[in-house]
């Protein structure tokens, strides 16, 4: 089968085998597909609401109504046979990058799928709008060309600057993530500025959108109740706010699809929302009060790892081969954590690292190029449960 190609290094062969097994294990949950005919569990109601909200927000922001309606036609028959695939359990890549609380979105988490696969040229648009309580929805229309932007959170002002992207003529996937702010922040007190060079969204429009989204949540929630047995609902949004909402079976090609019809500002769009094709991703932006760091010393020397935050410092020794979990309190996670690795004996600093991330990490310590030196790297996963700190006599401190 391998056409007289060179044999694999056994280690690479093992690696590829492991990747194959891992994918066999992960695929069913990593890539979500619609379960034909299965009704939405009641527990997903909240998710459905969030998904529907994002559909509205993104669709408004994308300004793609005409393309959608053209693509779908009156009966939506142009969508026959098309399924949407969402992602589940995928954290959105958000990171606090510096003290000014700059959040950059590289990759969206999928809340739902909404596609117009005919000449949608507005894929560059993004939207940010408050939901209820401490949550905001960051949403956008993604295509294979994708979109990018920077969300800046300075005191009392959120600024979303959208990069100008070339028009995309491929399928559009509506994506979003819910940002949850810490209790100390009152989202209602934040002003929102949208910066979109090609086609600015006026703040007044953004507020209008936000009001509509907030206002329609109950309507859609009621629709979700009705939809459980029928797999379809119809939601109507009228200009200048929500004046009516109705849940009823809608004509559809496939009985296991949700079909939403949304009328806003006199334009109509048909979308399909799939029962299992969306999930709500909550990203705690400033919600953490402790950071978890797993440490694995794979070097040949014993070291003391001192983890520091803006609030405290935690030193602990790790002999070669030892590993363990540290937790460190912090007051403002945007400041990230710093790591100092101290050699023993002598306690001189042999390596340092700074990690402006909210996600738990595994710090890997390995031998450096020079004898006795070490180098640091991080792994974006941690052990399934925290590990006890190892016992040893390594110690630095006391002046």
């Amino acid at each position: 089968m391998h056409d007289e190609m060179p044999a694999l290094d056994p280690r690479l062969g093992d690696f590829l085998d492991a990747e194959r097994r891992r994918a066999e294990h992960d695929f069913p949950t990593a890539i979500v597909r619609k379960r034909t005919g299965s009704p939405a569990p009641r527990a997903r109601r909240g998710w459905l609401v969030a998904a529907a909200l994002s559909v509205l927000v993104i669709a408004i922001a994308a300004g793609s109504w005409s393309a959608l309606s053209q693509g779908l036609g009156a009966g939506g028959s142009g969508w026959a046979g098309v399924e949407a695939i969402g992602l589940r359990g995928m954290p959105m890549s958000l990171a606090i990058l510096d003290a000014d609380s700059v959040i950059a979105a590289r990759r969206p988490a999928t809340i739902d799928e909404l596609r117009a696969h005919r000449n949608d040229t507005d894929a560059r648009r993004m939207a940010l709008t408050p939901l209820a309580g401490a949550e905001w929805l960051l949403a956008w229309a993604a295509t294979p060309c994708d979109v990018s932007g920077i969300l800046t959170a300075s005191p009392r002002v959120l600024t979303l600057a959208v990069d100008a992207m070339p028009p995309c003529t491929t399928g559009v996937t509506m994506r979003g993530a819910v940002l949850r702010f810490a209790p100390s922040i009152v989202p209602a007190g934040l002003a929102l500025t949208l910066v979109d060079p090609p086609e600015p969204i006026a703040e007044a429009d953004a507020i209008s959108i936000a009001n509509q989204v907030a206002g329609i949540s109950d309507v859609i929630s009621g629709g979700v109740d009705a939809v459980l047995g029928t797999y379809a609902t119809l939601v109507q949004v009228e200009p200048n706010g929500i004046t009516s909402g109705d849940a009823s079976p809608a004509p559809q090609v496939n009985p296991d699809l949700f079909v939403w019809r949304v009328d806003i500002f006199g334009n109509t769009a048909w979308t399909r929302v799939f029962v299992d094709a969306f999930t709500r991703q909550v990203v705690d932006v400033v919600h953490h009060d402790a950071f978890r760091l797993d440490v694995a010393n794979r070097s040949s020397v014993g070291v003391v790892v001192s983890v520091g935050s803006d609030m405290s410092g935690v030193p602990h020794g790790f002999e070669p081969g030892q590993r363990g979990t540290t937790f460190i309190l912090w007051s403002n996670p945007t400041n990230g954590i710093s790591v100092e690795v101290l050699g023993t004996p002598g306690c001189s600093v042999v390596a340092t690292g700074g990690y402006p991330t909210l996600r738990p990490l595994t710090l890997v310590i390995e031998d450096g190029a020079a004898p006795g030196s070490v180098k640091l790297s991080t792994v974006n996963t941690v052990a399934a449960s925290p590990m006890p700190l190892p016992a040893n006599s390594l110690f630095c401190g006391g002046g």
Partner: protein, 169 residues
């Protein structure tokens, strides 16, 4: 009704849509594994598989030989993987100090070494290795999936494996 839709309808008449989709999804694990080897990034890999399915579901009516589904899907995915590189150049890359290794375990060190070694290879070389050795495509189909000649694939694979051997010691 346009030609594509007519074909779709005809196909749906022969094989129910659900069956077609099941057949597509049956190849999901190998797509995901290949995507991970090509991208060396779990998030990108899952995006890539998602995009592959989205494209495949739109074009499934063009498949004439169901036995060639796997190769067809891998071709879509590989082309998208190459396109993805261009797209990511325009995007913000977060926290470059964080290197992702998906699974911890007793062989973590070896896996880390191999990932590092693979990361030093061009993405196209990783794609060739993934398609040929992981997905089991013959060289001819690997070349077709990558849009290059067979000799190019052979050369990329040989060079890549030699580099890996050198790095891994």
């Amino acid at each position: 009704m346009d030609t594509a839709r007519m074909r779709d309808t005809e196909l749906a008449g022969i094989r129910p849509q659900a069956t077609l989709v099941d057949e597509l999804y049956a190849h999901g694990p190998v797509l995901l594994a290949s995507a991970r080897v090509i991208t060396l990034d779990d998030d990108e890999a899952q995006d890539l598989v998602q995009t592959t399915f989205e494209i495949a579901l739109r074009r499934v009516h063009t498949v004439r030989d169901p036995g060639a589904l796997r190769s067809w899907l891998l071709t879509i995915q590989t082309r998208e993987a190459f396109r993805l590189v261009r797209r990511l150049r325009r995007q913000v890359r977060l926290d470059p100090a964080v290197h992702e290794i998906a699974v911890a375990g007793p062989d973590l060190a070896q896996r880390a070494d191999i990932r590092r070694a693979l990361a030093n290879l061009p993405r196209r070389t990783r794609a060739a290795i993934a398609l040929h050795y992981l997905a089991g495509l013959p060289i001819a189909e690997t070349a077709a999936a990558m849009g290059v000649s067979e000799n190019t694939v052979k050369s990329q694979v040989r060079t890549g494996l030699a580099q890996l051997r050198e790095v891994l010691g």
